[in-house]
């Protein structure tokens, strides 16, 4: 069976540069909703998930596809564009999943005391990214910001204490929002 491998970056270098700035803005300013574009990935990958993948994945990364993302079409598309390796979530640098399928965080890589950077980043789809009832505070946030996260527990339960932890990028279509381990979440 052949898969459609089109829909990647047109100009790898410049498109990845724009995409990275969107990703970095999102992680440096939690609650800020960044956007990237110019991609037509295979379902069910969103444009933002695909953009993050093509900007950050290569032969030095191991990634895990959970649930409905674990299709041959997605695997073939990511392999073709990035050359990345596939593995189980417990060993992955990046995990692509849905927000209700993140699974227990204590089973993901959270880094070590000496190297807390050797930890997983979860790239999850989220139904809606906008203003909402969840208050975020912490580094990158001027005072506080309110976002549309309905339940913080999947992102925080099982998270080891700082500096260890898992970082999240929430995506919806072409939009993305960063949720690093330093962000405190509180429902109001």
């Amino acid at each position: 069976m052949t898969h459609d491998l089109g829909g990647g970056f047109n100009n790898t270098s410049k498109d990845a540069a724009y995409a990275f700035r969107a990703i970095m803005d999102a992680l440096a300013r939690p609650g800020y909703i960044a956007a990237l574009g110019g991609l037509s990935p295979p379902d069910p990958l969103s444009i933002a998930q695909a953009g993050i993948a093509l900007t950050l994945f290569d032969h030095e990364t191991h990634i895990a596809l959970k649930g409905r993302y674990g299709t041959d079409a997605v695997r073939a598309w990511l392999s073709f564009h990035t050359g990345t390796y596939f593995t189980v979530p417990e060993k992955a640098d990046f995990i692509i999943c849905d927000h209700d399928n993140i699974g227990p965080l204590d089973q993901l890589r959270q880094g070590s005391d000496e190297y807390p950077d050797q930890s997983a980043t979860v790239i999850t789809a989220y139904p809606r990214l906008s203003d909402g009832a969840c208050r975020l505070t912490g580094p990158g946030i001027n005072d506080e910001v309110m976002v549309s996260i309905a339940d913080p527990s999947p992102f925080r339960d099982g998270q080891r204490s700082f500096p260890l932890g898992v970082d999240f990028i929430l995506t919806h279509d072409a939009h993305l929002m960063g949720l690093p381990r330093t962000t405190q979440m509180e429902m109001c």
């Binding site: 440096a28 950077d117 990158g140 500096p163 330093t182």
Partner: protein, 314 residues
Amino acid sequence: MTSINPNSMTDDYNFAYLDEQTKRMIRRGLLKAIAIPGYQVPFASREMPMPYGWGTGGVQVTSACLTPDDTIKVIDQGADDTTNAVSIRQFFEKTALVNTTTDTEAASLIQTRHRIPEHDLSEGQILVYQVPIPEPLRFLEPRERETRKMHALSEYGLMHVKLYEDIAHHGHIATSYAYPVKVEERYVMDPSPIPKFDNPKMANCPALQLFGAGREQRLYAIPPYCNVVSLDFEDYPFTRLKADTICALCAANDSYLDEVIIDDSGTRMYVCSDTHYCEDRQSKGHTGTANSLDDPDNVDRPISNKGGDNAASV
């Protein structure tokens, strides 16, 4: 010789010089650095077409962050027109075809060696520091394995002993640059050799601050609006330090001043280290003692390098 079409320059160099795989590696490192403020992320620093000590770390970070829409400013000790700043600015003009500026407020990305601009930075700006020795504990403990363990355990007593010894020897904390800070109450971080005058500008800064050490192969970051505290003691609080005078060119009393020796008898002139800040003030009509040549007091003492006719009267 063939003429060079500027639009085709990226055919000669990949955008912003570095290859894509290197940029991805640096980008992954930068994201983890942002997620763990003040923590030093190891990265596979590349050889750059400039010697170590000339900002190879900063250049790699800038290269990984740059987009074609950016306007960059490069400063070396506050100055836009010194060799290091000019060569790095031209490097990115040539390899990324980005716009450059000397105006702090107009720049979207500022690469700096050893200063933070005097103008307040704003949200969306990125400040990239060139870092020679990223490890604040390195001169106290030379072994990387040990310093890494000390960071893991938040074991920073040694740094306080060092500051205490400063007080014991000199009566005050004599460390005047690369003054250690604690980020988000966790990691002690070297702010690069900026004067401690600049330290308070790192705290709660709206801009994203990124640090690159090329030779030492480390990246670290301070996200916007971060808690950054200069280490001190209750009875010896942190103090800023600057020359106790005003700028001889623009009369600024709030900027960091460079001391310039201007003749063989050791006469000194103090001028703003931030050249853009100084020029901006002068263009708004502020004049210091050295460039108000209409002032009769100054006619016989031409201490500006624009001496002109007055130079003959020395």
